[in-house]
C-alpha cells in the first residue's frame, strides 16, 4: 500500500472515531450545532481525502452520508433515534469500506456492497421524507439538485493573494517588539502587494500613550509559504495581537465576516480592503449593498447609517446563501476546513507518528542495554576499582532513565479504549430496551500499548455481561426501588506497580444459589461441597459456565468468563469479582504496567538465582527455628503463610544454617517465600520461556544475569495463591474431608 493510502486509512479511522463520538453526543444533546458541524466536517474530510486518493466507493458512500448530515446541520431534518442509529451504522460501514481499502481490494466484496446499498436506500428514505416531493424522483439521488447555485458571480473573490489582518495589542512596543520588524520579516516570505495602516483605534491626544501600540494593518500578500509559516511570523506577539489570515481565493462572505469581526467601521474597513487590493470595488459594493438591504428589510425603522454597522446585520453570510449567491456548504466547508487546518497543524507539531515496530525495537535494545549494564556493574564491583564502580553506577542510573523514558513512549492512556464502550452501551441498551448510562473515570491512567491492545476484548466481554446479565430490566429495577436508569462504570487506576481496571454495575449482582446449582448441573462440582462465597462466585470463570437461561446474541454462550480470565492471565494479570446480591457486582482486572522490563529482587536457593518482581516485595525477614512441617509464621501478630522454594521446585541439598523470608503481597494477600540468600535489587528484562514451559506454574519468565547465568522470574501471583490454597486446604481438612476444587 502506498504511503498516501496508508495515511488516508489512518486519518480516516481517526475521523470516523470522532464522527462516532459526535453522533453519540448528538443523541444526548440534539441541538448542539458545534457538534453537528464537527460530525459533518469529519465526514467531509473523509470524502475529500478519498477523492484525493481516488477511492471511488468510499467517496460515493460518504457523499450520501454527508448529504444527510448537511440537512441535519441546516435544520431541515431533526435528530431522532432511528436517524442516529442509521448514521452510526453508516459510520460502521465506512469503517468496513476503509478495511476493504486497507486490504487493497479494488472493490468491496459483495456482502459489504450490499450492506452499503441497503444503507443508502435508508438514507434516501430519510432524505426524501424531507425533500420537496414534486421535484424529486423517489430513489434517485436527490442530492444533486440540492441548493443550486443560481448566481455564481461575486461568489469567489478573484485574487490569488493572502489577506492578512493584524491588530497589535497595546503592550507590544513596551515588550520590546516593533510591529514593523514583523511586517518586514513577513515581506521576506513573499511580496506585499498592498498594505494599509489602520490607526483608528488611537485615542485622543491626552489619553494617547506614545509607548502603547494602537496600529493595525491590512495586508494583501502574495507568497508560496503556507498559512502556518505566515502565522509563525507573528509567533512572538501571538498573545498580543489579533491575527486573521484569509487564504487566496477566499469566498467573499469570508471577507464580509472579516469586516464584521473587526472593530473598525465597516465602510472604512471595506475601503481599506479595496485599497490594499484584497477586494475589488465591485465586490465590496455588492456585499455592502446586500448587507444594508438585509438590515433595512428586517428592521425598517433604523437609519441607513446604522444599517451598515456590523451588529445590526449579524446574519450577513446567511443572506448571501439564501440569495444563492454562495452555496452554503462551500462557505461553511471553507471556514470549517480552515479551522481544521490550523487545529491539525497545531496538533501535528506536538505529535509525531512512529511505527510501532520501531518502538518495539527500541524497547528490545534498551532491554539488551539493561542486561549489558548489569554485567558491567557486576564486573566493576568485582574489580574493586572505586572509580570504575562510580562510573558504572552513573551509567546504570542513565540506563535506568533511558529505560523509563523508552517505556513511557509506549504508554498510552486507557481513555480511548474506554470511550469505545459508549457506543457499545448505547447499542446494547437499545437492543435490550434498558436504560443504561456508562460512567468513565480514570481515563487518563496510562499503561503499555501492547496491554491496551489486548485488554479490549476481555473488557468488551465484561461490559456486555454487565449490560446483559448485570443490569435488571427497568420493571424489575422499579419494583426493587432502584432508579430506572442503570449504571455501568469503568474505572482505572494505578496500584503498586500494576494497573487496576474495574468494571462495575449497579445491577442485581451474582446469585450464588443459581451459580451453585448451575455448577452442579454442569458437573463442575459435586453436590455437598462446602464452598466459600468467594469460591462460588469464582465459579463463573470456569470453562463451560453460563447461567443465563436464555441465550441472547450478546452473551451467554458459555464461552465468556473463562476466555476473559485466560486472556487476562496471558497478560500476567488477574481478574476478580466482588458482588452483592441486589446491589451490583464489580469485576477487578489487575495488570502489570508493562510486559517487557521489571525491577526485580534477586534471591538464591543453592546455586540457582531467582527474581521476584520488586513491586510485590514488602519486606525481608530472617526465618528463625521453624519446624519443617509448619507453613506459617507469626509476623508481628499476623499469620503469614509461607512456602519454601526448595520444596516447590524440588531442590535438593543441605538447608543452610540461616534462611530468609521474602514477604510478598499480591492483590491484598500476603505470603512468604523462603530462600537461602538475598542478593538485592536487580533490573531485569523479561524473556519469555519457551512453549514447552507454558504450563509451568510459579514461574513467569526468565532473565539473563550480568554473569551470563539464567535466572527464573517467579510468578508471585501464582505462588501467593498456592500459599493461600494450601492454607485453606489445611483449614478444611481440619473440618470436612473435602477436596478443594482445582482452581485451575
Amino acid at each position: 500500500m502506498d504511503e498516501l493510502t496508508s495515511v488516508f486509512v489512518q486519518e480516516s479511522r481517526e475521523q470516523l472515531a470522532e464522527m462516532e463520538a459526535g453522533l453519540l453526543r448528538l443523541e444526548q444533546d440534539p441541538h448542539d450545532a458545534d457538534n453537528i458541524n464537527a460530525i459533518f466536517r469529519a465526514a467531509h474530510t473523509i470524502k475529500g481525502a478519498s477523492g484525493v486518493i481516488e477511492c471511488g466507493f468510499i467517496e460515493s458512500f460518504t457523499h450520501k452520508v454527508e448529504n444527510i448530515l448537511d440537512k441535519l446541520r441546516n435544520g431541515e431534518i431533526s435528530v431522532s433515534g432511528p436517524l442516529a442509529t442509521l448514521l452510526l451504522e453508516c459510520c460502521d460501514h465506512m469503517g468496513r469500506l476503509i478495511d476493504v481499502l486497507e486490504a487493497q481490494q479494488a472493490q468491496p466484496p459483495e456482502d459489504v456492497s450490499n450492506q452499503g446499498e441497503a444503507l443508502q436506500v435508508r438514507l434516501t428514505d430519510f432524505l426524501s421524507a424531507t425533500e420537496a416531493p414534486p421535484a424529486e424522483e423517489p430513489g434517485a439521488m436527490p442530492i444533486e439538485h440540492e441548493s443550486p447555485v443560481e448566481i455564481s458571480g461575486g461568489g469567489v473573490v478573484i485574487t490569488d493573494g493572502w489577506h492578512i489582518s493584524v491588530r497589535f495589542g497595546p503592550n507590544v512596543l513596551r515588550g520590546g517588539m516593533d510591529p514593523l520588524s514583523f511586517l518586514r520579516y513577513l515581506a521576506s516570505l513573499g511580496e506585499i502587494l498592498g498594505m494599509e495602516t489602520i490607526p483608528d483605534s488611537m485615542p485622543e491626544a491626552e489619553e494617547m500613550d506614545p509607548e502603547s501600540c494602537y496600529l493595525g494593518f491590512e495586508i494583501h500578500f502574495q507568497t508560496r509559504a503556507s498559512k502556518a509559516d505566515i502565522e509563525r511570523v507573528f509567533d512572538f506577539v501571538q498573545d498580543e495581537c489579533e491575527l486573521r489570515i484569509l487564504p487566496p481565493n477566499s469566498k467573499i462572505s469570508e471577507y464580509l465576516k472579516h469586516i464584521e469581526e473587526l472593530p473598525e467601521d465597516n465602510m472604512r474597513l471595506g475601503e481599506m480592503l479595496v485599497r490594499c487590493g484584497a477586494l475589488t470595488q465591485a465586490e465590496l459594493d455588492e456585499a455592502l449593498r446586500q448587507q444594508a438591504a438585509l438590515t433595512n428589510n428586517e428592521d425598517a425603522g433604523i437609519t441607513e447609517g446604522d444599517a451598515t454597522e456590523g451588529h445590526q446585520a449579524p446574519q450577513l453570510g446567511e443572506i448571501l446563501v439564501e440569495q444563492k449567491v454562495v452555496q452554503k456548504t462551500l462557505v461553511d466547508a471553507a471556514v470549517g476546513k480552515q479551522a481544521q487546518v490550523t487545529e491539525k497543524k497545531a496538533k501535528e507539531s506536538r505529535m509525531i507518528r512512529v511505527q510501532a515496530d520501531k518502538l518495539d525495537q527500541l524497547i528490545d535494545l534498551v532491554g539488551e542495554l539493561v542486561i549489558a549494564g548489569a554485567s558491567t556493574n557486576l564486573l566493576a564491583n568485582r574489580s574493586g576499582q572505586t572509580e570504575l564502580v562510580e562510573a558504572t553506577s552513573i551509567l546504570s542510573r542513565l540506563v535506568e532513565d533511558i529505560r523509563d523514558s523508552a517505556l513511557q513512549l509506549r504508554m498510552v492512556q486507557i481513555g480511548e479504549t474506554f470511550n469505545r464502550f459508549h457506543r457499545v452501551v448505547r447499542d446494547v441498551s437499545k437492543e435490550l430496551e434498558k436504560n443504561i448510562e456508562l460512567q468513565i473515570s480514570g481515563g487518563e491512567t496510562e499503561l503499555d500499548k501492547s496491554v491496551v491492545e489486548k485488554i479490549g476484548d476481555p473488557l468488551m466481554h465484561l461490559v456486555r455481561n454487565a449490560l446483559d446479565h448485570g443490569i435488571e430490566p427497568a420493571a424489575v429495577r422499579m419494583a426493587t426501588g432502584k432508579p430506572v436508569q442503570g449504571h455501568v462504570a469503568l474505572n482505572a487506576y494505578h496500584d503498586s506497580g500494576s494497573i487496576v481496571i474495574e468494571v462495575s454495575d449497579d445491577g442485581g449482582g451474582l446469585k450464588k444459589e443459581r451459580i451453585l446449582a448451575k455448577a452442579i448441573e454442569k458437573g463442575l462440582i459435586q453436590q455437598g461441597y462446602n464452598l466459600s462465597d468467594q469460591e462460588i462466585v469464582n465459579l463463573i470463570f470456569e470453562p463451560g459456565f453460563s447461567t443465563m437461561e436464555k441465550v441472547s446474541n450478546l452473551s451467554g454462550r458459555g464461552v465468556g468468563m473463562d476466555v476473559v480470565r485466560r486472556n487476562i492471565q496471558s497478560l500476567r494479570g488477574t481478574v476478580d469479582v466482588t458482588t452483592q446480591e441486589g446491589i451490583g457486582s464489580t469485576f477487578t482486572i489487575r495488570l502489570p504496567l508493562t510486559l517487557a522490563i521489571i525491577d526485580g529482587f534477586l534471591v538464591s536457593v543453592e546455586q540457582a538465582s531467582y527474581v521476584i518482581p520488586l513491586d510485590t516485595v514488602v519486606e525481608c525477614i530472617e526465618l528463625n527455628d521453624q519446624p519443617d512441617n509448619k507453613h506459617y509464621l507469626n509476623l508481628r501478630g499476623e499469620v503469614l503463610p509461607f512456602l519454601r522454594l526448595r520444596e516447590i521446585f524440588g531442590i535438593e541439598g543441605e538447608i543452610p544454617f540461616r534462611e530468609n523470608v521474602v514477604v510478598v503481597q499480591f492483590a491484598g494477600q500476603k505470603a512468604g517465600i523462603v530462600v537461602d540468600q538475598l542478593m538485592g535489587e536487580f533490573q531485569t528484562v523479561i524473556k519469555p520461556l519457551g512453549n514447552i514451559f507454558k504450563h509451568l506454574r510459579g514461574i513467569g519468565g526468565s532473565t539473563i544475569l550480568g554473569s551470563g547465568e539464567v535466572a527464573l522470574i517467579l510468578d508471585v501471583q501464582a505462588l501467593v495463591q498456592h500459599c493461600a490454597n494450601q492454607e485453606e486446604n489445611r483449614k478444611r481438612n481440619a473440618g470436612h474431608a473435602t477436596r478443594l476444587l482445582e482452581s485451575r
Binding site: 507590544v172 510591529p179 495602516t197 506614545p210 509607548e211 496600529l215
Partner: protein, 101 residues
C-alpha cells in the same frame, strides 16, 4: 494670525524618545497654527514614532491647523513608504536623485 513654528527633531523617532517628543510636538501645535517638522536628522523610526506622526497629523486636522513634514530622512521615508501612509500623511516626499533608482 498665522504663526508657524518649526521643529527639527534630532533624536531618533523611537520608543525611547516618544514620550518627550509627544509632549513637545503637541505643545508646539497648541501654540502655533502651523507646525513644520524637519525629520531630516532622524536616523531611525519605529512603530511608536510612526504613531506619533499619525497623532500629530490627526490633532492638527482636528484643530484646523497644519502640521507639515518638510523634510524626511531616509529612515522615515522608508517606513512611511512601507506602511503606505504617504497619502494619508499628505506631505510631499522628496526623493533625492541618487536614490530614485
Amino acid at each position: 494670525m498665522s504663526n508657524s513654528q518649526r521643529i527639527s527633531l534630532q533624536e531618533d523617532l523611537t520608543i525611547y524618545h516618544v514620550l518627550d517628543q509627544k509632549q513637545r510636538l503637541l505643545d508646539t501645535l497648541a501654540q502655533a497654527d502651523e507646525v513644520e517638522l524637519d525629520l531630516s536628522q532622524v536616523a531611525e523610526m519605529d512603530t511608536a514614532g510612526l504613531q506619533l506622526l499619525i497623532l500629530l497629523k490627526r490633532e492638527a486636522q482636528k484643530a484646523g491647523k497644519k502640521a507639515v513634514i518638510i523634510a524626511h530622512s531616509q529612515a522615515v521615508r522608508s517606513v512611511i513608504d512601507f506602511c503606505n501612509l504617504a497619502a494619508y500623511l499628505g506631505d510631499p516626499l522628496v526623493i533625492p536623485a541618487q536614490e530614485s533608482n
